[in-house]
């Protein structure tokens, strides 16, 4: 069984999420464990398609594009402090984006739903900014923002999404032009690096959840 180098960072994040699950729940980040399990499963299957009798890994990644946004929306829902109107708008946008993802899969692209992914990443950028601004405006926090798990999760998602939007948004053009970086497909050259950043941020955030548990627990 093969694994890309960034796969080890995903597994590390999964291990830390499992070990610190109790503390993750205290921080309302419980959804990170199923998300990490799902991500790692997708990555392992997609990297070893021959073991599962498949010829291409597009369907696997399409499954990720369809399912992971739900988990991310739960994650952002838990992290954001929204009022009633905000919650309604959030739910409406979530519903529209899910409908678009399904419509894209069944009627527009099908092979690899890059439009859905780009749309989802744009939302992630906006939501990450909202979380970061929420953190910056918090009056009650006595700790540095660097010790906030939400900061690391939002920062990781922001950096990942910014790169992914450009890379995936230009993917058809890049493929058409045959643009390569380090002698390989541009997407394959760039995405592992941002994956490392994303899952390193997650791992550190999970560690911080445990470290700052005293905020919620008496001992």
């Amino acid at each position: 069984m093969n694994l890309h180098y960034y796969g080890y960072f995903q597994l590390l994040a999964l291990a830390l999420a499992a070990i610190n699950y109790r503390y993750l729940r205290l921080w309302k980040l419980g959804v990170m464990l199923p998300l990490m399990i799902f991500t790692c499963a997708i990555e392992i299957i997609a990297t070893n398609i021959h073991l599962f009798g498949m010829t291409t890994n597009w369907p696997i990644y399409n499954l990720y594009v369809l399912v992971s946004p739900v988990m991310y929306f739960i994650l952002f829902w838990n992290m954001l402090l929204l009022n009633k109107n905000g919650r309604n708008i959030y739910l409406a946008i979530t519903a529209i984006s899910m409908l678009f993802a399904f419509y894209d899969y069944f009627f527009i692209e099908g092979l690899f739903d890059s439009y859905s992914m780009v749309f989802s990443m744009v939302q992630h950028i906006i939501l990450s900014f909202m979380i970061l601004s929420q953190l910056s405006m918090e009056e009650v926090s006595e700790n540095s923002i660097l010790s906030e798990p939400y900061f690391w999760i939002a920062s990781g998602i922001l950096l990942f999404s910014v790169v992914t939007v450009v890379t995936l948004g230009l993917q058809p053009y890049i493929l058409k032009k045959g643009i390569k970086l380090f002698s390989q497909n541009f997407y394959r050259a760039v995405m592992p690096m941002v994956n490392v950043v994303l899952y390193s941020c997650y791992s550190y955030a999970f560690y911080l959840c445990r470290k700052h548990r005293q905020r919620f627990l008496p001992s």
Partner: protein
């Protein structure tokens, strides 16, 4: 004009780099402003604590001044009057000598009680005699009432600046007063060991978490903090009470005097 793949690659990498740089810059700015906000919150907290400490010190100063005046009044005025009454009683020639003796004894007791009260109220007296002596007097008086058995164990005497010493002594008085009024104790022991002062009783104790105890304890803790001391209370219903004052090294100079 048709760009070559190398040119397109450069543009894409540049766009990604610029976007990532903007994101990183925003994150760095966020960290910077958050740290600045944190520093200003801490400064605000520090100033608030400083203000509260100053307020408390002023209150205590006013209280001490009032006590000093009362003490002076007792000593100079009421005490003198009673002494005069006692003298008159002794020189009075009358047929009921037994009654005169009893009255004279009562007046004498009143003079002694007033003298002790005057001493305990007078801050100069506390500084002059030292905390050990005034504590010993206080406990002797309690012992003399016949209601309490007391002990004072001094291992290492503590030396505090006069202002802090008086605040500490007032806190001890308050603790002892609480024991007398609320605990139903028969034994009171005081132990001084280096920078630690412990007052224990065998009374009915109390539930430390009860809100009704909160204000008095909070007040004691604030006063303790004002002299660089920490107050801890170990108690439980029917288990007696131990009040511990831990004076930090910065707040007290320790002088070893042996036993």
């Amino acid at each position: 004009m048709q760009e070559t793949p190398a040119e397109v690659l450069t543009i894409i990498v540049a766009v990604i780099f610029i976007l990532v740089a903007i994101s990183v810059f925003l994150l760095v700015m966020l960290i910077y402003f958050n740290n600045r906000k944190l520093r200003s919150i801490k400064e605000r907290e520090r100033m608030k604590a400083q203000f509260q400490r100053t307020l408390l010190e002023t209150q205590l100063e006013v209280q001490e001044q009032t006590m000093r005046e009362i003490s002076q009044e007792i000593h100079d005025n009421i005490g003198q009057v009673l002494s005069l009454v006692n003298l008159n009683l002794k020189t009075l020639s009358t047929f009921d000598e037994d009654k005169i003796h009893k009255t004279s004894d009562l007046v004498h007791k009143a003079i002694n009680d007033l003298r002790n009260l005057s001493k305990s109220l007078n801050p100069e007296n506390i500084s002059k005699q030292g905390i050990i002596q005034v504590l010993r007097n206080e406990l002797d008086q309690l012992e003399g009432s016949g209601k309490f058995s007391t002990s004072l164990d001094v291992q290492d005497e503590m030396e505090l600046p006069a202002g802090k010493l008086i605040i500490l002594y007032r806190m001890i008085q308050e603790v002892i007063s609480n024991i007398i009024r609320h605990s139903g104790a028969s034994e009171i022991s005081v132990k001084i060991d280096r920078n630690m002062l412990v007052i224990a009783d065998n009374g009915k104790g109390f539930n430390n978490g009860t809100p009704s105890n909160g204000l008095g304890l909070q007040n004691l803790k604030q006063r303790a903090a004002a002299i660089g001391a920490e107050l801890n209370i170990e108690t439980a219903p029917h288990k007696g009470t131990i009040v511990i004052f831990n004076i930090h090294e910065s707040g007290a100079e320790i002088r070893s005097t042996g036993r």
